[in-house]
């Protein structure tokens, strides 16, 4: 029997969701350990001393950090439906677009949401260009992974769920009608049986975002300086 699986996470985090979605889709039972990110536990600091971030996967005596590294680990260590496609080119494409979201999309997206006026415009334009690239990647498929939810869908889950809530809270429209495939994908992803079980409610995200509005604006301004 496989050793116990624990996930150190923080309720509401899209990065933690990636790990949970992978576990749920593979049918792996796990214990969720919720972290107070304002007051990090010894457990978290011991298992992720370098980044001090969630999620952290504990599988027996193994520790895995970094959400996408965790997702690939889950795919490889457990039986169940494959999360990454089998063809090497398709696997490479999935990894590329996941990397794209984290490295290229994240900053302009955040600045688009949490700044205003002239500063914001260029970033909204950039975000829309990024979304158009992802829209094109769907290319008639139900999910980025094909017929079923896969690695890239999980990696892009921020766009399926969190961004919509942030748009409501801020009044900034990003994933508009010009992205029919992405909008349909977002509905399909968030209504998936396994994924649903580990998605924080829209209300939860909305109240968190509203409470953190000023902090988020400061973060966006800081990003502008980079």
């Amino acid at each position: 029997m496989s050793p116990p699986v624990k996930l150190i996470g923080a309720f509401g985090s899209p990065f933690v969701h990636r790990a949970e979605a992978a576990l749920r889709l593979k049918g792996v039972p796990y214990e969720f350990i919720n972290e107070d990110l304002e007051k990090k536990s010894e457990l978290l600091l011991k298992h992720n001393p370098i980044h001090k971030k969630v999620p952290v996967l504990l599988h027996g005596d193994r520790t895995i950090c970094e959400s996408l590294v965790i997702v690939e680990y889950i795919d490889e260590a457990f039986d169940g439906p494959a999360l990454l496609p089998s063809d090497p080119s398709d696997r490479a494409a999935a990894r590329f677009w996941a990397h794209f979201l984290d490295q290229k999309c994240g900053r302009p997206l955040w600045i688009s949401l949490w700044t205003e006026g002239e500063l914001q415009k260029g970033f909204v334009k950039e975000t829309k260009e990024n979304l158009a690239l992802l829209e094109a990647q769907l290319d008639g498929k139900k999910f980025f992974g094909g017929d079923s939810v896969g690695y890239l869908d999980i990696a892009l889950s921020l766009l399926a769920h969190w961004v919509g809530v942030f748009e409501e809270v801020t009044g900034v429209s990003l994933v508009g009608d010009e992205y029919p495939a992405l909008r349909r994908w977002a509905k399909d992803y968030t209504s998936n049986e396994a994924v649903k079980l580990c998605l924080p409610s829209r209300e939860h995200i909305a109240s968190y975002a509203t409470a953190m509005k000023d902090n988020f604006k400061l973060m966006a301004m800081a990003m502008l300086q980079q």
Binding site: Y73, D75, A77, A93
Partner: protein, 241 residues
Amino acid sequence: MARSSQQKPPRRWKLYGAWGSAHAAMARNALALKGVRCEYVEEDLDNKSDTLLRLNPVHGGKVPVLLVDGQPLAESLVIIEYVDEAWPESPPALLPPEPRARAAARFWARFFHDEVSPLSRAVVLADAEAERAELAREVKARMAVMEAGIAEDFAGDGEGPFVHGRSPGLLDVIIGSCAVGTRVLAAVSGVEIVEPGATPRVHAAVAAFDELAKGFGTTVPDELLLAKLLERKARSRAAAA
């Protein structure tokens, strides 16, 4: 892991790289290690071809790009893993077989890519000598973190000289392809970011890989790379002024 034994290797492939680009060298070295004879296109990063600008869908003009049966693949880490998976019958295996070791390799690859590489670039770009030294010390500190992590995650049976053991793997390709870069950083900052005392395993792996890579035609002379980087820096300062 879903790995079909009926996969056919790609029929045509072509790598776009650039002289002096460590990331392009990583891709070239991975292909060379696998014994894949690859058509190589040398790009001038100061005068990029239209082809290259179109190829990378997101970062038009960045190298490396590996064209596989007409499809572009970008990002050095993505390309290295692709090469490992597309030619599974060709040793060495760049990723280890066991999931935990694979996760460790990916973690440290990202650590180097996200925490070390950008800071290294900042060292060269910094104008003041004191600033370069300070930044280089930060790079050195991160390499020490990596050294400790590698010692824990790749303890193995003490086989070397590579991180992954007797044969080079993902992390060796990555840090090894930056061998000349480490020497350039030392030249501009006065700080050795990799050395036998502070980072023995990393140092040994970099040295061994550098030696291996001499046969691949991907290494560039230190002085020439330094000159090129300084020239580019001067030009961009002039353009910004």
